[in-house]
């Protein structure tokens, strides 16, 4: 009967794993081709407004993916992802920023982004490796508070390390580029002229694609299964030979790496300017919200959730969906979307802890069951006359 229906996991944070051979299904292939076609259309004809929204969403999705590795797959709470994003961003600024012109300008070595982007991830991962052994001794509420403290300690450090971060006023961040070519000010390449946002779009598609593929493969590896084992039952995981500390540390480091990459891009795009206060608790909570709304322990869920939490306010702003008069009452698109995701966090956690992806899976199972029932009915109807004939 239901051979390819994965049984719904009863554990709260554990929706069923993605079925193997995703591309084998004709429906999924159609979905993929449709998605690619839609993205290509937006890329070609969407204009700066849509591209900006998509680009910001893609950066946010990278960070959400990182958070999902730690919190979704390995089950360790983190409210501190912006700390690692900040580390990544300032690594990028240090390595890739323009050299100081006047004394007192923040430092910069003017290296290519092929160096500073991976370095942003690596340094953030190193920070994770340093903090992990202390933080991961704690669980649950204690871990939540410690990662929250990390955000505030980070803000203090970023504000005071003036030579690197420019102090409370902030500093400029490097734009990606190759040699003379810069994404912030693109020149035609091989006679093709693309706008800044289009170039960034291509870059972010590649980086997000790599990140998603990496996380997907990691989760379906031995290490990923160890993460999920530790999340579902620590003692059980230890009993079957999983090194809990290694699993947690692995998740923490991978998560910090992705956060660092996302941080470097977040600071570089769109303005290439950020204050230390960018890396605050509210942003960190937005990423947690994105993960919860999209889908805990799901790659697609991370992307969907980021779209919901980060694209919605931008779309509301860009297309002036809120009436103009509302600005006098202080209602901003940020507030409106905060109400939405605040409400959605509560509703999803209570009724569908799997997020949007969980909802989609539930819908899929429901349809399959419906189809089976229909088939069963037809079969029964088909056999009935013969029985009567006999």
């Amino acid at each position: 009967m239901s051979t390819n229906v994965a049984p719904r996991d009863t554990l709260d944070l554990a929706p069923p794993a993605v079925a193997q051979g995703w591309f084998a299904s004709a429906k999924n292939r159609t979905l993929l081709i449709g998605g690619v076609a839609l993205l290509t259309l937006v890329f070609l004809f969407g204009g700066d407004n849509w591209l900006l929204i998509l680009n910001v969403t893609m950066i946010a999705a990278i960070a959400t993916l990182g958070l999902n590795v730690l919190s979704g797959y390995a089950g360790q709470i983190s409210l501190g992802i912006t700390f690692f994003m900040g580390i990544g961003a300032y690594t990028a600024a240090w390595l890739g920023g323009s050299p100081p012109v006047f004394p007192g300008d923040p430092v910069g070595l003017n290296l290519t982004f092929l160096i500073w982007l991976p370095a942003a991830g690596i340094l953030a991962a190193l920070a994770g490796a340093l903090i992990g052994p202390t933080a991961l001794r704690l669980r649950g509420f204690y871990l939540a508070i410690v990662t929250l403290a990390l955000v505030f300690i980070g803000l203090y450090l970023f504000k005071n390390a003036r030579g690197l971060t420019g102090g409370p006023q902030g500093r400029t961040f490097p734009a990606p580029g190759f040699g003379d070519f810069s994404f912030a000010n693109p020149t035609p390449v091989f006679g093709i002229t693309l706008t800044t946002n289009q170039w960034y779009f291509l870059l972010f598609v590649v980086v997000l694609g790599l990140a998603a593929l990496f996380v997907h493969n990691l989760i379906h590896s031995r290490a990923g299964r160890a993460f999920e084992a530790v999340r579902d039952n620590e003692v059980g995981a230890a009993l079957i030979g999983v090194n809990r500390f290694h699993a947690k540390m692995g998740a923490f480091i991978v998560s910090s790496f992705l956060a660092g990459i996302a941080g470097a891009l977040w600071a570089a795009y769109p303005g290439g300017y950020a204050e230390p206060n960018t890396w605050n608790l509210t942003l960190a909570i937005q990423f947690v919200a994105a993960m919860l709304v999209g889908g805990v322990a799901s790659v697609w869920g991370s992307i969907l959730g980021a779209a919901f939490v980060f694209a919605l306010p931008l779309a509301l702003d860009t297309f002036a969906i809120i009436p103009v008069s509302a600005s006098t009452t202080g209602l901003t698109s940020g507030d409106l979307s905060a109400i939405f995701y605040g409400l959605l966090i509560i509703v999803f956690l209570i009724f569908e802890p799997g997020g949007v992806i969980g909802l989609a899976r539930r819908g899929q199972t429901w349809f399959q069951r419906l189809e089976e029932q229909r088939k069963g009915g037809e079969a029964a109807a088909g056999t009935a006359p013969t029985e009567a004939g006999l």
């Binding site: 944070l13 509420f141 410690v146 009452t329 507030d335 905060a338 109400i339 995701y341 966090i345 802890p353």
Partner: protein
Amino acid sequence: MAYFLQLVFAGLAQGCIYALVALGFTIIYKASGVINFAQGEFLLVGAFLASVGTFEWQLNFFVAVAIALLATILLGIAFERFALRRMIGRPVFSIIMVTIGLDILLRTGVVMTGRSNERSPATPYSIASGINYGGVHFGANQLWTIVVTLLICGALYVFFRYTRYGLAMRATALDQEAALALGITVQGVYALAWGIAAAVATIAGIFLAINVTTFDSTLGGIALFAFPAIILGGLDSIPGAVVGGIIIGLIQLLTQGYESHFPSILGTGFDTITPYLIMLIVLLVRPYGLFGTRKVERV
């Protein structure tokens, strides 16, 4: 010396506010094992309603405070009944996130009224009034904060020690199943805990708002400093919450007062992280805090 005493006095008052917030955390945690990240927004909603009551509805200060208390208590009980009750048995992460969801909703809700910018707090006395003695200014609000905190602590002590509801709450905190078996309405205990926490937070919010002279929707952020307080005092200890709150307040204000003497070492804003640094040290050295039970969630 007068400067030092002034800082100690201000630190005590600030610590009393942290103590009130921390009390709310601890009471809810003891009753139901939930940490309420939305506690800070109860401060905001309370202070906001009291301010709207006095200035826009032209009510007497105490009537406005009563309305604010009633509203936050109902809010707390409703949230516990309709959201958290369904989360029993879920992972800590989910429970924390539901309360963060409430936090976002409450704060944004206040912002969306469009009246949250630069609000004057409701106050029965002049903000600047106070007594000068020995070169130290004892602000009226700070004095009242300390007095009211002491009164609340006394009232809570009597409540937990001598009333049947207090006994029911203590029994539930010790062993929920045994309490149920003895006929204690655990749901009632939950509601009571949320009601007390919300009321205490509202009072803290009103004092805090007067203390900062004008407030906006970020007022509730101060409650985050009560986390170090409860860790220092011990997560499941009510006296610990009060002591922890006062110690954190004292240390923070002293750091704030003296950090300008060491700008090259400490930088600016060191006082915003001292509570967290203390908390990290406590977690490493004595994770159960000063008065907590020797049991902590770790591997």
